[in-house]
């Protein structure tokens, strides 16, 4: 500890602190350009100068560590002169084009020049005349405005670990940009644009379209992935102009990915539904709510009178938990149906079911902070950077800055594998074998039965697993103090997803991590509110609070809470719903933003099945295959137009806020369902969103809103007893109760060694659908900004293979499987394994889906549709 006196105020701080941080602790603001709290200090802008009272010296506060007895002045005539001179020097090059600069109005350099009155320079001005770099579709670099603070280069290196931009040239000619004058090619997170203290970096989407003082700023939660990033939506006249972040706010600490930052325009494009549609003479025609609602009500009323489980429901996992709560209430109370399922069924259920049976909760054992503290991290079956960018950011930081031992198990060289201690590059299809052997090895403490030894040998021989790396992984996992296993979409959507996830959940138990603070499993959900929708009982398995929906004893708990009998049927998942429709036992389907057609191979008969429905109601933002078939299409509010709460991967319950005006006549999902219920003579009892939140919190008080680095919700205290938060409410699972349950589960079940789905078909390559960083579904595909960043799906091929096969970049290749063929644009990539070809799953249209086996199969344990990878041939289309 060191005692420092700053401006006459004494403070005791850690001796590793810099003068700047010590001043910050006192609430004294020292102006900075190049300082950034999350990065190492650079000391390049010379604006944070302070005076040492004893030696009368001027030092840079951001790089000077405190010393005991130090006496510092942050404002003095000498400092004022020093800063003013610095500004004059900076303004030698800086063009005074503030009126046309997007930064004008929120520019630190502008503010500082104003504050220090550096209006005239004593030096001869030297204006650079470098043309702007507008090659990139996303970011624009203006070298003239740059003051070379280096923040952008450093954030790209230190925080994002992308290294896309750097300093070019030396001396007066130094500019910042992508290497070799090429077009910028990076993750387009826009953090460089965010931290730039001048207008040197701007983006193409909002360039010249706004002035900062016209914008109204509101904090909300990003609705794309489950990282729960806190974003600031800035609007002019209730239309979104841009999305920014604030340093240190939210779980994301101020970083947001390309999708969150630029993916806001889909909510304000003319293609969006702005009025209800009604089928009339085989065509969907615009109608009014007054026309549509009584019609739907009447038809639903007829169908529900036929019996229980007559109406099926699908809910997207991008809706707030309030909507999911109303959705299941509507189905279970009003329609007496348990035939409900959510978008999580396509993957995340593979993880959720074993996890809930093991721990009783979906809240994670670890969060991002634990990732930074973990000594060993195993990333398996996921590409965190693409799937959950901000979680990926923390993993990068853990590996690079915190020196965690990172193991990556994947066939593809994902972004993290360059940071990994070992990248176990096993062949596609071996994932299930790998995790089950690993689990057995750790559970038996290395004493494997001959049967398992043979399997382990097979892993080394047939599946390309390096025995040395495997052994290092086993040693590190068993000996580490804190360890985290990260898994995600690739594992959930594996053709053996159910058993892989079962083995991984088991592995945590085998390692004894359930009871070990700081260790555990970190799941990357696929969508923003996978956790929230499941917690609210959005699937047939669970009532709200993850209580078994069919068990009479647990059912009676909600019956007494709601004060009414629940007489729904046994229910079923997506597979059962499709079967039921086929058999005529289900007559109506209500889909809240979910489109099953886009998930199944085009050869499957899902479309024909759905055509048998008497009533199909689709609540969505955009036209899709399902809405084309629908009898009624109802426009819903996007997450930018309404309130609610999302549960992030870390377990934070974070609010979303209405930032823009309602689009057309769109309404929030819960309101539409409440109106239909009202029309059927039943009241769900919700007048406002707040009343839903209040009811959820009354029955499930642990879902009280929480966030990291943010203002905490201080709930209305009235009939419900919400504790007023003085500190962050718990967002992680309670470790004690979980570890007890875990042990019971571990001993009570046998390790699933069920059926292995082999990779079907024949061919040289294995075609897999992966998630692209820039797209996550219909919303991003409709977004003009994100489509500008990535406009089409390209098949990624190993670079060496492409060279051998003479496939050039941008060339069309024919991909042929045993089930179909299609033409795709090739993109050679060094990260793809030589026996694999990868295609971004959200660009997989009917033609691409035609490559996959047409028969529908559902996992016996979890009901998740089995999504195969297929073997394919590649054929070049040479016009010669």
């Amino acid at each position: 500890m060191a005692k420092v006196t700053i401006n006459g105020i004494e403070v005791e701080v850690d001796s590793s602190m810099t003068v700047l941080k010590a001043a910050e602790k006192l609430g004294i603001v020292i102006p900075t350009f190049c300082y950034h709290p999350r990065m190492d200090p650079a000391g390049s802008c010379r604006i944070c100068a302070v005076e040492l009272e004893d030696s009368k010296r001027v030092v840079m506060s951001c790089v000077t560590p405190v010393a005991d007895g130090m006496r510092v002045l942050t404002e003095s005539p000498k400092i004022h002169d020093a800063r003013k001179t610095n500004l004059e020097l900076l303004l030698l090059h800086h063009p005074l084009d503030c009126p046309v600069c997007d930064c004008g109005g929120e520019c630190p350099l502008q503010n500082m020049s104003f504050a220090y009155g550096a209006t005239e320079t004593r030096f001869e001005s030297h204006r650079n005349d470098e043309p702007e770099d507008i090659k990139s579709d996303v970011l624009v670099f203006n070298a003239n405005r740059c003051i070379l603070c280096g923040k952008c280069v450093r954030i790209c290196d230190e925080i994002q670990d992308v290294h896309a931009i750097g300093f070019i040239n030396r001396g007066f000619d130094t500019i910042i940009g992508p290497p070799l004058g090429k077009k910028l090619d990076c993750e387009f997170c826009g953090d460089c644009y965010e931290v730039c203290p001048t207008g040197a970096i701007t983006d193409q989407f909002t360039r010249y379209k706004y002035r900062p003082w016209q914008l109204e700023k509101q904090q909300t939660t990003c609705a794309y992935c489950a990282s729960g990033c806190q974003i600031f939506v800035e609007t002019e006249n209730e239309a979104i102009v841009r999305v920014t972040s604030r340093e240190g706010v939210g779980p994301n600490e101020g970083s947001i990915c390309a999708v969150g930052r630029f993916g806001f325009n889909h909510v304000q494009i003319p293609e969006r539904f702005d009025t209800p549609y009604m089928r009339s003479l085989h065509r969907l025609v615009p109608a009014t709510w007054e026309d549509v609602l009584p019609e739907i009500t009447a038809r639903l009323d007829l169908i529900r009178k036929k019996g229980t489980d007559r109406v099926a429901g699908l809910i997207s996992t991008r809706v707030p938990m309030e909507d999911a709560y109303v959705f299941q209430s509507f189905f279970r109370k009003v329609l007496r149906s348990n035939m409900i399922d959510s978008g999580a069924r396509f993957g995340f259920m593979n993880a959720a079911l074993p996890l809930v049976s093991a721990t009783g909760t979906l809240r994670p054992l670890v969060d991002h902070e634990d990732i930074l503290k973990a000594k060993v991290i195993l990333v398996i079956g996921t590409d965190p950077v693409a799937e959950s960018n901000i979680s990926g950011l923390f993993l990068k930081r853990a590996a690079r800055k915190e020196r965690a031992k990172l193991y990556v198990v994947d066939s593809e060289a994902i972004t993290l594998s360059t940071r990994a201690k070992d990248h176990i590059r096993l062949l596609p299809g071996g994932e299930k074998l790998f995790v089950s052997v690993l689990n057995e090895e750790i559970a038996r403490n290395g004493a494997l039965s001959p049967d398992w030894t043979a399997r382990k040998e097979e892993l080394f021989k047939n599946w390309n697993v390096d025995p040395g790396a495997y052994q290092r992984l086993v040693n590190d996992l068993t000996s580490t103090e804190t360890g985290i296993i990260v898994t995600g979409r690739k594992a959930y959507r594996n053709e053996n997803g159910s058993s892989i996830m079962n083995s991984i959940v088991r592995l945590i138990g085998s390692l004894g991590w359930a009871g070990k603070v700081g260790s555990g499993l970190f799941l990357l959900p696929e969508n923003a509110n996978d956790l929230g929708v499941l917690m609210m009982g959005g699937t047939h398995e669970w009532l709200p609070g993850l209580i078994n929906a069919t068990d009479p004893s647990s059912k009676s708990r909600w019956e007494s809470a709601w004060g009414r009998r629940l007489s729904y049927g046994n229910g079923g998942s997506l597979g059962d719903i499709l079967k039921g429709i086929e058999a005529g036992q289900i007559n109506a389907l209500i889909s809240l933003g979910e489109n099953p057609l886009s998930h199944f191979p085009s050869g499957s008969k899902v479309r024909e099945t759905l055509a048998k429905l008497d009533l199909l109601v689709v609540l969505d933002l955009f036209q899709n295959e399902l809405s084309d078939m629908a009898h009624f299409v109802l426009p819903v509010s996007s997450s930018f137009e309404r309130g609610g709460h999302f549960v992030s991967a870390e377990g934070f319950v974070q609010p979303i806020k209405a930032t823009m005006a309602h689009w057309g006549e769109s309404l929030p999902d819960w309101e539409i369902l409440s109106k239909i219920a009202h029309g059927m003579g039943e009241s769900l009892g919700f007048e406002s969103l707040e009343s839903i939140t209040a009811e959820i919190l009354r029955f499930l008080p642990d879902l009280v809103p929480s966030s990291r680095n943010g203002a905490h919700y201080q709930g209305p205290t009235g009939e419900i007893t919400v504790p007023v938060m003085s500190k962050t409410p718990p967002h992680k699972a309670d470790r004690e109760s979980v570890s007890v349950k875990y042990a019971q589960w571990q001993s009570g079940t046998v390790s699933a060694n069920g059926e292995v789905h082999p990779i079907l078909g024949e061919g040289d390559f294995i075609l897999a659908l992966t998630k692209s960083l820039f797209h996550s579904g219909k919303m991003t595909l409709m977004d003009p900004n994100l489509m500008e960043i990535q406009s089409e799906g390209k098949i990624r091929i190993n670079r060496q293979v492409a060279r051998k096969r003479k496939i050039k970049k941008g060339e069309r290749v024919t991909v042929r499987s045993s089930f179909g063929s299609c033409s795709m644009i090739a993109e050679p990539s060094s990260s793809v394994a030589e026996f694999e070809v990868l295609f971004p799953s959200h660009f997989a249209n009917e033609v691409v889906l035609g490559l996959f086996p047409p028969d529908l199969a559902f996992d016996r344990e979890t009901g998740v549709p089995v999504q195969h990878r297929v073997r394919v041939f590649l054929e070049t289309q040479n016009p010669a």
């Binding site: 063009p95 084009d97 009126p99 046309v100 004008g104 204006r127 507008i134 360039r207 010249y208 002035r211």
Partner: protein, 186 residues
């Protein structure tokens, strides 16, 4: 009451003084200007209708910077900026509307304009049967500016905003480079 005030009251002297004054004014020169038949000569700094100006090469000066909108005390100006369709590194006003029904002719926008794209003229007698008729678009403002170019230059000179134009230097008011004419002949 003194005798004097009594006399004053009886003889109505105060009223008589007033009557004298009004009678005197009856024979003074009248100051009325018979407006449509005779007009006053307006000074160069007259704050009349606001117009948009062009560079010598016919390119519009406005860079769509929104500063006039920001300073306008009557919120009469609305600017929508965007990337110039022909010059992707340049900003321009995609839409520019000036609502003369709200304008109070204070001239702040002209002071705020960094490129002398705005000026006031001696035009004042514009009227319309509808409100919309007095909400001028950029094209209308440019057309009016073309009509009154000498007046607008005179205004800027009188209001000391012409210095940067003549000096040709970058000091003082920043002089944004005009867009070169696309066709050398034009």
């Amino acid at each position: 009451m003194t005798l004097k005030t009594l006399l004053n009251n009886i003889l109505f002297t105060e009223i008589a003084q007033g009557l004298k004054l009004t009678l005197k004014h009856m024979f003074k020169k009248k100051i009325t200007v018979q407006y449509p038949h005779e007009k006053l000569t307006l000074a160069d700094g007259y704050r009349g209708f606001i117009v948009h100006r062009r560079y010598e090469n016919e390119q519009e000066r406005c860079v769509g910077c929104d500063l006039c909108e920001a300073i306008c005390p009557a919120k009469a100006i609305r600017v929508v900026g965007d990337i110039h369709p022909e010059f992707p590194e340049r900003r321009y006003a995609k839409e520019y509307t000036l609502d003369f029904t709200r304008c109070i002719f204070c001239g702040f926008c002209i002071v705020a304009c960094p490129v002398n794209a705005l000026a006031m003229t001696k035009e004042f007698a514009h009227s319309s049967f509808t409100r919309e008729g007095l909400i001028y678009s950029k094209d209308q403002l440019l057309a009016l500016g073309d009509k009154c170019e000498s007046e607008s230059i005179a205004y800027l000179k009188v209001r000391n905003m012409w210095g940067a134009e003549d000096s040709g230097k970058e000091e003082g008011r920043y002089h944004f480079p005009p867009i070169p004419t696309i066709n050398a002949g034009g």
